[in-house]
Amino acid sequence: MNGVPLAGYLGLALFMFSTGVVGVLVRRNPIVIFMCIELMLNAVNLTFVAFARYRVQALPDDPVLAQSQTMAGQMMVVFVMAVAAAEVAVGLGIIMAIYRLRHNIDIDDMNILKG
């Protein structure tokens, strides 16, 4: 997509990331917090893809290496997705477990452990 600056993608990603970060700070619902974290991960994914698309020419003129570097970013995205899936499974499991125990998942009600 010629004409679109790399900074555009990066800026969007950064904005999404920041929004996710703010979401973690301001929300009390752990599911929403978790969604915000997913938002952060996706922002990073976008960054990876954008970099993969735009940034490899800066490196030496070895085509194999260049391709390998191009692919690295995409590979990251693939694995992040896998990791996100595993995290979601476990994370939601934890939330369920807590809900079963106390019928409330408000994050601000959880501070038995402190001090």
Binding site: V24, N111, K114
Partner: protein, 667 residues
């Protein structure tokens, strides 16, 4: 008897001490308490008497030549510094040996009677024998370290004997006071010793016996003649020590309190022997003082002031032993005048005569106290001459001797001191003859002495009123004696007690006549080390002396002939302010005691509660740290969102730091 027999002299009292301390209990157990006393008494007196005999035999061999030094094993022996056990046999030490063992054995004998009803008989004689041993070490030791050992040893025995009746806390306090005040003196003495070591080492660098008299006296002479300032330092430091032991102002405060001890102790330790150690020290170290007019003047003036001060206070006392104690303080002042004006032997002369008559007076007072069921207040006495004839007679001799009655011992010794002071010109700074001033002061004190002694004698023995009949009997603290009932008559003491009195009375009477004029030749055959000889006699002095003696007695008699004036009676509110001030030592004792004891305690408590409690114990630091821990505990809120926020703050800080770093000197 050879000089090396001096070992026996020292060993005998030590032996007595060991026998009494280790075997005392066994003997009591073996033969029963009553019987044991005669055995223990004999075992206590015999070594001292024997020591006296041997001492006397050695003395006859002591000539005018250089002192004999009997060396034994070493005490402290390190590279470059050694202190052997070594004894000096010379006129000075032998004079003291004779006084100590002679008077000592008499007082021991007296004490066997005086303490007869005491349970802790063995303990008493343990201490007493130990005292004789320590005193002998003090005078016989050929180095300052041994002198110091004896010095502290006699202090210890003094402490133990003052606190002999330990159940009364006041006695214990008096004992502590004596020891501690003496320690203040020791502070000076020790520093003086150190200074001497350093000075001597400069002169004789190869020498290791840096405190032995035969080494240091010549060395000091060499070193100090040209350095009067150094001599002054050493002299003053030594004098601090001497003043502590010999109860000179301002360190006299312990001596009156020391009267808490049994009366034989007061006689032996606090009148005849121990308190004169200071004079002995000054005689030993006269080289130093000869080189320093300033130190000499200080010695003389402090002596004169003490003499005056003690005499004045004596007027205000009602306790017979206290009167005698202040009298001792005063007389010690005389001795220091003698030493201060460069006539060291006159000091020793007075030491000797004073030992006779003051021991006599104390023992006599003891007899009175014994008869009065341990009541010591002269206001409760009166008319006792009728009942205590021997006591009265002997004490009268002692009284006349101290008052300066012509041709008794005190007359001669006092006169020689005053003569030296008035005629000498050693204690002179910038043309002012302080020695002479001290001499005139001394003459005035002689007047006062006669007066207050008259007061004491008349209140005790004189008058018709037997005041003890009207007074509530005084039950003493240690409770070994019955109170004196109204019907009871005071009893004369037994033979063990009056025989010593008689002997001492004879000595007091003739001692002066015999010894007058002999001390200079005896102690200083070669003359002084640096200074010229001092004349002992001043013109008209004998006449002045007689006048003040008789004047004083007359003055005293005029007031007290009829008995106790109301102005000094039991109702102390009627006392005149001067008399009250005299009673209270012009406020000096309470002032110093308050300042030092209370002040010291307050300061210590303050340090304890501030520095010790908070700083050095680490409390301040610990509570600060734990406070910080509390803050961190508070920050650990337990809320996820808070943690996330802290994390994010950290994140921003990190990236912010890097963002700034890239501009501010990346690479």
């Amino acid at each position: 008897m050879d000089s090396s027999a001096i070992w026996i002299v020292i060993a005998l009292p030590i032996l007595g001490f060991l026998v009494q301390s280790l075997g005392g209990g066994l003997i009591v157990k073996a033969v029963g308490e009553a019987k044991s006393k005669s055995i223990l008494g004999f075992l206590a007196v015999a070594p001292i008497a024997l020591a006296f005999i041997i001492g006397a035999m050695i003395t006859t061999k002591v000539g005018a030549g250089p002192a004999t030094v009997v060396t034994g094993p070493s005490w402290i022996q390190i590279a470059g510094f050694s202190i052997p056990f070594e004894w000096i046999v010379d006129p000075l030490s032998m004079t003291m040996v004779l006084i100590i063992t002679g008077i000592g054995s008499l007082i021991h004998l007296y004490a066997t009677g005086y303490m007869a009803k005491e349970k802790d008989y063995a303990r008493f004689f343990t201490y007493l024998n130990l005292f004789i041993a320590a005193m002998l070490i003090l005078v016989l030791g050929n180095n300052l370290a041994l002198l110091f050992m004896g010095w502290e040893g006699v202090g210890l025995c003094s402490y133990l004997l003052i606190g002999f009746w330990y159940k009364d806390t006041a006695n214990a306090r008096a004992a502590n006071k004596a020891f501690i005040v003496n320690r203040i003196g020791d502070w000076g003495l020790v520093l003086g010793l150190f200074l001497i070591v350093c000075v001597v080492l400069d002169v004789v660098p190869k020498e290791t016996r840096l405190l032995s008299y035969d080494v240091i006296l010549p060395a000091l002479k060499t070193a100090l003649v040209a350095k009067p300032a150094l001599a002054t330092s050493i002299g003053l430091l030594l004098f601090v020590g001497a003043a502590g032991k010999s109860a000179q102002f301002p360190l006299y405060v312990w001596l009156p309190d020391a009267m808490a001890g049994p009366t034989p102790v007061s006689a032996l330790i606090h009148a005849a022997t121990m308190v004169t150690s200071g004079v002995v020290l000054l005689n030993r170290m006269h080289v130093v003082f000869e080189c320093s007019p300033v130190a000499s003047v200080v010695v003389a003036c402090v002596g004169a002031f003490t003499a005056l001060y003690g005499a004045l206070i004596a007027f205000g006392q009602t306790d017979i032993k206290k009167i005698l104690a202040y009298s001792t303080v005063s007389q010690l002042g005389f001795m220091f005048i003698g030493c201060g004006v460069g006539a060291y032997w006159t000091g020793m002369f007075h030491v000797t005569t004073h030992a006779f008559f003051k021991a006599l007076l104390f023992l006599g007072a003891g007899a009175v106290i014994h008869a009065m069921a341990h009541d010591q207040d002269v206001r409760n006495y009166g008319g006792l001459s009728k009942y205590l004839k021997i006591t009265f007679a002997t004490m009268l001799v002692g009284f006349l001797a101290i008052a300066g009655f012509p041709f008794l011992s005190g007359f001669f010794s006092k006169e020689s001191i005053l003569g030296a002071a008035l005629s000498g010109n050693q204690a002179v700074i910038d043309g002012v003859n302080y020695g002479a001033i001290c001499g005139w002061v001394g003459l005035a004190v002689a007047f006062l002495t006669a007066a207050y002694m008259t007061r004491m004698m008349l209140l005790t023995f004189g008058g018709k009123t037997e005041r003890w009949r009207t007074i509530e009997p005084n039950h003493d603290a240690h409770g070994d004696h019955h109170g004196l009932d109204k019907d009871h008559k005071p009893h004369e003491v037994g033979a063990t007690m009056w025989v010593p009195l008689a002997v001492l009375a004879v000595l007091s009477a003739v001692g002066g006549l015999v010894l007058n004029g002999k001390f200079e030749e005896w102690l200083y055959p070669q003359g002084l080390a640096v200074l010229p000889k001092v004349a002992e006699h001043a013109s008209n002095l004998q006449m002045y002396s007689m006048i003040v003696a008789f004047g004083g007695m007359a003055f005293g008699a005029a007031i007290y002939w009829r008995g106790l004036p109301a102005s000094q009676g039991w109702d102390e509110t009627k006392w005149s302010s001067i008399r009250l001030a005299q009673r209270d030592q012009f406020g000096f004792d309470s002032l110093t005691t308050d300042l030092s004891v209370t002040g010291g305690a307050e300061l210590s408590k303050f340090l304890d509660s501030t520095v010790e409690h908070t700083v050095t114990s680490g409390r301040a630091l610990a509570s600060a740290t734990s406070g910080a821990g509390g803050v961190m505990k508070f920050l650990q809120t337990g809320f996820v969102r808070w943690y996330a926020m802290v994390m994010l703050i950290g994140v921003v800080a990190f990236i912010g730091y890097f963002a700034l770093a890239i501009h501010g000197g990346a690479n």
